[in-house]
């Protein structure tokens, strides 16, 4: 009796005691380690955008070096403001018909220092927001590889703002936003194969069609003016990509570590593959190694939270092969997607999204799904749908936007301005004295 009572009361006291953390679990609690990793990751992703500017800038002619670097830097400014004002709300705000966020979070209204458990239960909502900001920024900047050396700076800024708003924000909502229809369908995209790479890569192709070739394209050599700058850019991209993929776990745990590992592995495998391909065709290429590394990073991005390191080697290597031959192919066409955004990001992202449908395994991420090779062909179908939808939407919307801008303020600089170079003609500056 007494015993029973003692037990009874002890249990009650213990439950009471336990209820404190239980209650605490109701109000989501910020984990300092997870927050540290996501903030560090946001910083890492931020540096990727100027790094992209260097990566691209080193590949153009000297007279357009600054202009090319500026595309990325200006996007950091432009989308840095757009995202905070309304971009985040459109992409991640409360769902409207599964296609877009509403404007409740305008000006980050209600995005505060406590977690939003819809997206990340253990980090401040602001941390998640700024991590996502960096994704929006770099995606818009990626496109600039398509129209370097000939676009009007003003047209570039207008295009970028519209594209971010009408292409990126919706796609991000579909795939990542709570209630987004592709997310609901079960499409897997850990860190942005569709949202970031297909959207930008396919749009690059589209705008390359509209703006047309550079003067002298296919006739005169267009020498990369500073390959060490390209390598520096690639290295910083690789470095930042650990935040891009690793941070997409929005926690500092085994999954983040796994994503980090496959990221490095795929990049290494792809760079190595590109070195071998270029050796086979001519010589082991330095520019090629850098390009290969980036392509491997692209390819692993959507899969990075779902696959094993051995799969990462395959994903990286195959990604490199696809992009390599796609570049050769594109070079022979009349399309001047000057820095091969389509071949690198469009196709790299497409392959990565498909590979996710092949190699994903719940052994790596129990919150994910199995792919074809783990007995779930349905996932591949879902991935293909997500890929197809993103291709079509991005391509069509970009053509429309580009045509409208071309018809109004004009996309392209004057011939003489192009000859002189955009640094002088658009910015009244020279890269080097």
């Amino acid at each position: 009796m007494n015993i029973k009572k003692s037990i009874y009361w002890s249990v009650i006291m213990v439950l009471l005691l336990l209820s404190v953390p239980a209650m605490a679990a109701d109000t989501p609690k910020v984990d300092s380690g997870d927050t540290a990793w996501v903030l560090a990751s946001a910083a890492l992703v931020m540096i990727m955008t100027p790094a992209l500017g260097l990566f691209y800038g080193g590949m153009v002619r000297k007279k357009n070096a600054l202009s090319t670097i500026m595309f990325s830097f200006a996007i950091l400014a432009l989308i840095g403001v757009q995202w905070v004002l309304y971009g985040y709300s459109l992409a991640f705000g409360p769902d409207v018909w599964h296609i877009i966020g509403n404007l409740n979070w305008l000006g980050l209204n209600g995005v505060g220092q406590t977690p939003n458990t819809d997206y990340a239960a253990t980090i401040p909502a602001l941390a998640y927001m700024i991590f996502q900001a960096m994704f929006a920024i770099i995606t818009v900047a990626l496109i600039s590889g398509a129209f370097v050396e000939r676009i009007k700076f003003k047209a570039f800024m207008v295009f970028s703002l519209l594209w971010a708003t009408l292409v990126y924000d919706p796609i991000a909502h579909w795939v990542w936003g709570t209630g987004g229809w592709l997310r609901n369908m079960g499409a897997l995209d850990f860190a942005g194969g569709t949202v970031v790479h297909i959207s930008s890569g396919v749009s690059a192709l589209a705008i390359a069609f509209v703006i047309g070739q550079r003067k002298g394209f296919g006739k005169h050599a267009m020498e990369p003016h500073n390959i060490p700058m390209v390598i520096l850019g690639a290295a910083l991209l690789w470095f930042g990509w650990f935040g891009f993929n690793g941070g997409s776990a929005v926690a500092s745990n085994g999954l983040a570590s796994s994503a980090f590992v496959v990221t490095n592995t795929a990049a290494a495998a792809a760079a190595l593959t590109w070195i071998l391909l270029s050796s086979y065709h001519k010589r082991p290429s330095v520019l090629g190694a850098a390009t290969g590394g980036v392509v491997g990073l692209v390819a692993i991005t959507p899969a990075s939270g779902f696959v094993t390191p051995m799969a990462a080697i395959v994903i990286g290597a195959v990604g490199a092969i696809i992009s390599y031959y796609a570049m050769l192919f594109r070079g022979k066409q009349n399309v001047d997607d000057s820095l091969d955004v389509w071949a690198c990001h469009g196709l790299g992202g497409t392959w990565g999204a498909i590979a996710t449908g092949l190699f994903a395994t719940t052994l790596v991420n129990s919150a994910g799904a199995n792919g074809l090779f783990y007995g779930n062909p349905g996932q591949l179908v879902t991935q293909l749908i997500a890929v197809g939808v993103t291709w079509i939407y991005a391509f069509v919307m970009t053509v429309i936007l580009a045509k409208i801008i071309d018809a109004t303020i004009g996309l392209r600089v004057e011939d003489e301005e192009e000859s002189v170079g955009l640094d002088i003609s658009q910015h009244a500056e020279k890269a080097y004295a």
Binding site: A221, M222, E223, P224, L277, S278, H281, K282, R283, S285, L287, G288, T291, S323, Y324, Y325, M327, L328, G331, D340
Partner: protein, 112 residues
């Protein structure tokens, strides 16, 4: 007085300089140039595939010489820079009317 302009391979500059110095020919002005001639351009790699450039990096060596030294200079340059292949370069000889040394105002041969 003559001026000679020798277009040579960049990697030969150090040896050309030394061989001229051996004959007491020290004063010279050099610059990096891009050249084209019988030697074809070179095809370099792009990220995938390649592109060909029409000009090759060369060094131009300019010397103002007393008439007597011209042949010596030509010989020395040829000795070092000749491989017998295309692209070994050329030496051009021009007339010079006068030379002024800025530091002293001297003119003519003394000023070289």
């Amino acid at each position: 007085m003559k001026k000679i302009e020798a277009i040579i391979r960049p990697e030969d500059l150090d040896r050309v300089r030394i061989s001229l110095q051996e004959k007491g020919l020290v004063g010279m002005t050099v610059q990096e140039v891009q050249g084209r001639g019988r030697q074809k351009g070179v095809c370099l790699q792009w990220r995938a595939g390649e592109y060909c450039i029409e000009f090759l990096p060369k060094i131009k060596v300019e010397m103002i010489l007393d008439d007597n030294d011209v042949e010596t200079a030509i010989e020395q340059i040829i000795k070092v820079a000749r491989t017998g292949k295309n692209g070994d370069g050329k030496i051009f000889i021009f007339p010079v009317e006068n030379v002024v040394r800025v530091s002293s105002g001297e003119r003519g041969k003394e000023a070289i």
